[in-house]
Amino acid sequence: MDRRNFLKAAAIACTAAIPAKDLKANEKFKIDEDRVGVLVDTTICIGCRNCEWACKKAHNLSTEPLEKYSNREVFENKRRPNNKALTVVNQFYNPKNSQLPIDVKVQCMHCDEPACVSACIVHAITKHKEGPVTWDSTMCIGCRYCMVACPFQIPAFEYDKALQPKIMKCDFCIDRQKEGKLPACVEICPTETLTFGKRKDLIEIARDRIKRKPNRYSNHILGEHEVGGTSWLYLAGQDFSKLDFPKLGSDPAPGVTESIQHGIFAYFIPPIALYALLGGIMWINKNKSGEE
């Protein structure tokens, strides 16, 4: 093969290697300034677990009748949200008053820059500009990489299903929100532990509460800066690590992964350059061995 043919074929191979895409991936996803969130004030929560019941009802999950939820024995073990319960309340010892344990509701935090969305191989998880992070059953292939990626270890998988196992996690009652209703847990909460509203307003409210009662609250709104900010925000009377929250920095949850990915694939230049380089080496060496 002569040089011209070689170059021609190499050029064709290069263009074939560029899928027509991703140039628009650089357009940064714009999140809504007025996105919604929920403020969870763990100093108010009484651990009635009505939110757990309402959540199951709203998501058509099987549940015991509401009366059974007053059973306090469940607090003996720490629980995590799973494929049968998208939110759970755990109880912790209160060093300030051992008679008044601290109750903490756990569910998806709906990160502003979610690791699960960045990780998902097929984009089955979406961050809506209004706040919620939701999962799409029609796309998911069940690889469970979102579970590896989530810094709060929230997504759960239906391991017992042979067909169409689902990734289960709080969807912020996005369907109810579209109908103008409150999320089920917020609606049923009898103590105003849960405050639904615009995230920026919730931060104001939280700051105000801390300012007015500095003894009641520790000066930290969990979720304001953690992993780049989350839609759900928490207030507590003590250090969050004592309430089983992971200690996280303020860098966005996907971390350096996206910089690495976009570095390696910056407009496909590095792979194409490598291809060209190897092609050149091959060409030179082949000629050399031909001359021998």
């Binding site: 191979a13 990780a119 089955a124 990489y145 299903k161 990915q261 390696i264 490598l274 190897l278 082949k286």
Partner: protein, 415 residues
């Protein structure tokens, strides 16, 4: 070397040996467990849960599988791109290993996916920011490239010899002309696929490392580093030749052939420096991030890290620099085996040992079913390898009749 080497089918060898029968039993065992997986869900036979979503099927079948198939692209780079003719005898076995290795990586992914029947989704639903997407796409294309690279071997065997059973004999001619057509067109274009194979390999070997970066603080700092992709690429290149040596020595022993020591020790000579570069990056990274402090704690992670580095990198590194090792079949095999184990350990450590989810009640250990399937897949791979080398010209044997080398030059490798 007295005689020139020619890829030959080993059809006069016996297929069934005691070892082969054990492999068949292991394969059947895996298939039984797989039936549970497909009829009652992943939970029925694995120890996976919401805290540990990935187990040995990802760490061994997929991550280690990809790394250990690196012999395919490292040998292609050496033999075709740098164009060292003396390594020709290892090119076909390495290509076959890579082809089968990647096929089983794909199978490993398939059984691990909760919705395996949607395995094609990444082809049409793209997420450019996901390293898993990149790994997936690269592996799909690379498997295709490997099969294309293998076609000339099939052509060489069957052109002019297509003889189907009576009722299908009318197909003999069309198949023969198809093979001739493929052979002709590939001989002109093979270099495109060879280069593409090397590029695709560098891409996904490194992205496999990027996979775990997103787990952030859930990963033990001894392994969690932004240069994980570089470390994965370097260790994959490092294990490429040891893996070729490892399987070449096993194959020659199993078929009672003379080992290709002159080529293998040359290959071994290159391993030392590559492992040295890998070790330098690994230790440099440790010092830059100050993670060596974690070695003072005694726990599973620190012990596994020391074993991985000592047994899997430092000892083989020293061995590959010794003339005595390079010229001894036994010691060379030992050093290569250590490197292979080292890279496997590294992948298992990165994906499983280092990964400590925040709310796990107990740490993950694979179930009997998971181990059975992993072992069974390896058994099936070895069996298919055996069938292929007995029926297609893959392994080179000395040929007394040969005078010219051009006859069996890899098609597309030159003019």
């Amino acid at each position: 070397m007295d005689f020139l080497m020619k890829p030959t089918l080993l059809k006069d060898k016996k297929f069934f040996t005691p070892g082969v029968i054990i492999l068949i039993l292991l394969a059947i065992n895996a298939i039984v467990f797989l039936a549970f997986r497909f009829f009652s869900g992943l939970g029925s036979m694995t120890n996976l849960n919401n805290q540990n979503p990935w187990g040995i099927w990802i760490a061994i079948d997929v991550a280690s599988g990809v790394a250990l198939a690196a012999g395919g692209f490292t040998s292609a780079a050496l033999g075709h791109i740098i164009h060292k003719n003396e390594y020709e005898v290892i090119l076909r076995p390495a290509l076959l290993t890579a082809m089968l290795g990647y096929t089983f990586v794909a199978l490993g992914v398939f059984i691990d996916l909760g919705r395996y029947y949607y395995i094609w989704h990444p082809l049409v639903m793209w997420n450019g920011s996901s390293p898993l997407f990149e790994v997936g796409i690269c592996v799909i294309i690379y498997v295709t490239v490997l099969y294309i690279e293998f076609i000339p071997i099939v052509c060489e065997r069957f052109i002019g010899k297509v003889k189907l059973i009576a009722s299908l004999s009318f197909l003999n001619k069309p198949i023969d002309s198809l093979l001739r057509f493929l052979d002709r067109s590939l001989s002109k274009t093979m270099f495109i696929f060879i280069i593409a194979g090397v590029v695709l390999s560098t891409l996904h070997q490194s992205s496999l490392g990027t996979l775990m970066v997103i787990a952030g603080p859930k990963m033990h700092p001894l392994w969690q580093t932004p240069i994980l992709p570089l470390l994965f690429l370097l260790s994959a290149i490092g294990v490429g030749f040891p893996m070729i040596i490892f399987e070449s020595l096993i194959a020659s022993r199993s078929f009672g052939l003379k080992a290709e020591m002159h080529v293998l020790s040359k290959l071994g000579r290159m391993v030392g420096p590559i492992l040295g570069i890998y070790l330098a990056f690994k230790i440099g990274d440790m010092f830059i991030r100050g993670t060596f402090v974690y070695l003072t704690e005694i726990n599973t992670q620190s012990i596994m890290f020391v074993i991985e580095m000592l047994v899997g990198v430092i000892v083989p590194l020293r061995m590959f620099f010794s003339e005595k090792v390079l010229n001894s079949k036994l010691l060379l095999f030992f050093a290569s085996t250590l490197t292979v184990i080292g890279v496997m350990l590294n992948r298992i450590n990165t994906f499983l040992v280092a990964y400590s989810p925040p709310y796990a009640l107990k740490s993950y250990f694979p179930s009997v079913g998971e181990i059975s399937v992993t072992v069974g897949f390896i058994a099936i791979l070895v069996l298919i390898y055996r069938v292929i080398v007995m029926n297609l010209p893959v392994i080179s044997l000395p040929d007394k009749k040969l005078v010219h080398k051009t006859k069996y030059e890899i098609i597309g490798g030159s003019k």
